[in-house]
């Protein structure tokens, strides 16, 4: 029974990893940029969301819509200011920019919200303390909400990429920028759309994370786990992100419950990275990633 409980919690945590990995994979698929700043972006969107909600007394849905708008604006700004000037440069340049962005956003968050470690209570839906009891199993409300939202978002993404014109354009862009451009896909617009979508997903993930534990300045570190998850799933595979996220969540929780007591704790923080190192060694393109054959 205990193991079942741990596995369920792992699935719920893993869904959040999968969600952040989804944002990561979307950016990678369209622009081939590995976004090391993903964790910081999650942190920034959720702090912005908190700021927007505590701005005034308007209904919660209005606050959420407004912060969604802010998040989309943030994504567009990142694309326009930092990514757009580097289109056509060797890939190392935009990737380095995201690495620098990691520091820049962290510094920004410390500057604005750094007092008392950036800790804030964040519970606009009033679900943080709630729990569902099913038999002997306890499911925390924010975690359960996160799980459901993640599944819905992945479903929407699947439909979007299959049927929407913009989604098809994104897939074409992912395949080859030049060919897509020749065939009439507005590649620059797709880049902007992908960044906006990624920050929006980051906001959703951040919202759930904030509802789980409140806000603090260490939230960005979840981005590192998300990178590991994205790599395990295969960098360009959307279902891979979900499956790897769930897998890593369960394994991490099991490791935390059964190995941690013997070594003195803390394994949960690095376990995804260890799994990633092992998987990357045997399957360099991840579990579901597309293997690229190189030509000279």
């Amino acid at each position: 029974m205990n193991t079942l409980q741990i596995c369920l919690w792992g699935l719920q945590i893993g869904a959040i990893y999968g969600l952040i990995a989804l944002a990561f994979v979307l950016v990678y698929k369209a622009t081939k940029v590995i976004n090391f700043a993903q964790g910081s972006i999650v942190m920034l969107t959720i702090y912005l969301c908190h700021a927007v909600i505590s701005l005034g007394t308007f209904p919660i849905w209005a606050g959420l819509l407004l912060s969604a708008g802010v998040a989309i604006g943030l994504g567009l700004a990142i694309n326009r200011l930092f990514m757009h000037p580097l289109v056509g440069q060797p890939l190392i340049a935009p990737v380095m920019v995201t690495i620098a962005l990691l520091g820049l956003i962290q510094g920004l968050c410390i500057m604005v919200w750094g007092d008392i470690g950036g800790c804030r209570n964040f519970d606009p839906l009033g679900i943080s303390a709630g729990a569902l009891h099913i038999g002997q199993i306890v499911l925390l409300k924010p975690h359960t909400l996160g799980f459901i939202v993640t599944l819905v978002l992945f479903g929407l993404c699947a439909l979007f990429f299959k049927y929407a014109k913009l989604g098809l354009g994104m897939r074409a862009t992912a395949e080859d920028h030049q060919v897509a451009k020749v065939l009439g896909v507005p590649v620059m617009f797709v880049f902007a759309a992908v960044w906006a979508l990624a920050t929006l997903i980051s906001l959703v993930a951040g919202f759930i994370l904030g509802s789980m534990n409140g806000l603090e300045l260490g939230i960005w570190q979840i981005g590192i786990k998300a990178i590991a998850v994205a790599i395990i799933g295969g960098l360009d595979s959307i279902p891979g992100a979900l499956i790897a996220g769930l897998m890593v969540g369960v394994l991490e929780q099991l490791a935390g419950a059964y190995i941690d007591p013997y070594i003195g704790g803390g394994l949960m923080d690095v376990f995804p990275l260890i799994i990633m190192c092992i998987i990357i060694y045997f399957r360099p393109y991840g579990l579901f990633g597309l293997e690229r054959i190189e030509r000279v």
């Binding site: 590995i34 090391f36 930092f82 000037p85 580097l86 440069q89 890939l91 190392i92 340049a93 990737v95 380095m96 920019v97 690495i99 620098a100 962005l101 990691l102 520091g103 820049l104 956003i105 962290q106 510094g107 920004l108 968050c109 410390i110 500057m111 604005v112 919200w113 750094g114 007092d115 590192i224 990178i227 590991a228 790599i231 070594i263 003195g264 803390g266 394994l267 923080d269 690095v270 990275l273 260890i274 990633m276 190192c277 990357i280 060694y281 360099p284 190189e294 000279v296």
Partner: protein
């Protein structure tokens, strides 16, 4: 690589020389004299900055060989420094060695750790490898934290190192030690680049498949690059330990690994002089930020709105690196080269 006007290489020895002309020699000697009399002009604050610059130059030179010359991005340099510092402290505290042999052994031990994380470069490359080294940082710190003898949460202390009766316990004394190491490591790096492995690194960076076709053992040279990079990091970590006489994992945060890569970008990837310029520029800049910009930012922020003074450092660092990437991706060194070709022809335009 243009030579100064009127200078020709008549012999192979001249072609290989790092310092080619009399002016070069004069400038080099003047620079060394200036460097070693620096402590008498600098205040204590700037002496500390200079010492950290020296330590980071050693670490950045190693990363420059791996990233700038061999093209393998590494996000684990601070982790390797931690490994060097802790292994050095453990050898001094438990192995009964004195500081100097412990420093050498720790550097090579760190090199071994670098090899372990270099092995995946057989299968993966590019940014996948960057992510492995990112994992390396966290895994190394995790392991350090979980070896009880290393007291990761408390840290290990050592006595200040000494040679004979000279103890390196003041900023002033340590400056000479660090700068000595920096000069030796710079010369070594400059020469590694010109050896067979150095040329192999550059071939791998430019096109690894083509390099392999031409008979370069890519995997072997990648491992060598990882090893050298980690040895430098271990040495830097050991120096850091000797300087602050304390090893603690909080001194090696992940962001330091990122900034180490930033030094290379700002200075210019693939040049030894550029690496040094990058470290000096960013560290001096961050000190100026800390001294002048941070109080200003705190003043400008509305009261109770956070800690602008702490955040401004990473914020400006990140901003500078991004600006360099967008506007001068070849770094300060490229600007220096342009300046050099200008003054060599001065007063003529070309």
């Amino acid at each position: 690589m243009g030579l100064p006007c009127g200078t020709f290489n008549a012999e192979y020895r001249e072609d290989m020389a790092i310092l080619r002309t009399r002016t070069h020699w004069g400038l080099a000697i003047a620079a060394i004299v200036l460097l070693f009399t620096l402590p008498s002009y600098l205040s204590n604050t700037w002496l500390i900055v200079a010492n950290f610059i020296g330590i980071w130059i050693v670490a950045a030179l190693g990363l420059s060989l791996l990233t700038g010359y061999c093209g393998q991005i590494s996000l684990g340099q601070a982790g390797f420094m931690a490994a060097g510092a802790f292994s050095c402290a453990a050898l001094v505290n438990y192995g009964g060695l004195s500081y100097w042999p412990a420093l050498i052994v720790a550097a090579f031990f760190t090199g071994g750790i670098g090899l372990i994380f270099g092995i995946p470069s057989l299968r993966v490359k590019g940014f996948y490898l960057a992510i492995i080294t990112l994992a390396a940082h966290f895994i190394i710190l995790f392991v350090i934290l979980h070896i009880p003898a290393l007291q990761g949460t408390m840290g290990l202390n050592i006595a200040p190192p000494h040679i004979g009766s000279v103890t390196f316990d003041s900023h002033h004394n340590f400056f000479y030690l660090i700068m000595g190491v920096v000069i030796i490591m710079t010369i070594i790096t400059k020469n590694i680049v010109r050896t067979k492995p150095g040329r192999a690194f550059i071939a791998i960076r430019d096109n690894d498949l083509a390099a392999e076709m031409m008979g370069v053992d890519v995997f072997r040279y990648k491992l060598i690059a990882f090893f050298i990079c980690a040895v430098y990091a271990g040495l830097a970590g050991g120096l850091m330990l000797g300087y602050i006489t304390h090893a603690h994992i909080d001194e090696y945060p992940f962001m330091d690994s990122v900034w180490c890569l930033g030094f290379l970008i700002v200075g210019g990837l693939g040049s030894v002089a550029g690496t040094i310029m990058g470290v000096v520029f960013l560290r001096v800049f961050s000190q100026l930020t800390y001294m002048y910009l941070a109080p200003l930012a705190t003043l400008l922020m509305p009261a109770g709105m956070g800690t602008a003074g702490f955040g401004i450092g990473p914020f400006t660092y990140g901003l500078i690196i991004i600006l360099f990437l967008i506007f001068e991706p070849r770094g300060l060194y490229h600007r220096w080269e342009i300046f050099k070709s200008w003054y060599r022809l001065w007063p003529f335009a070309y």
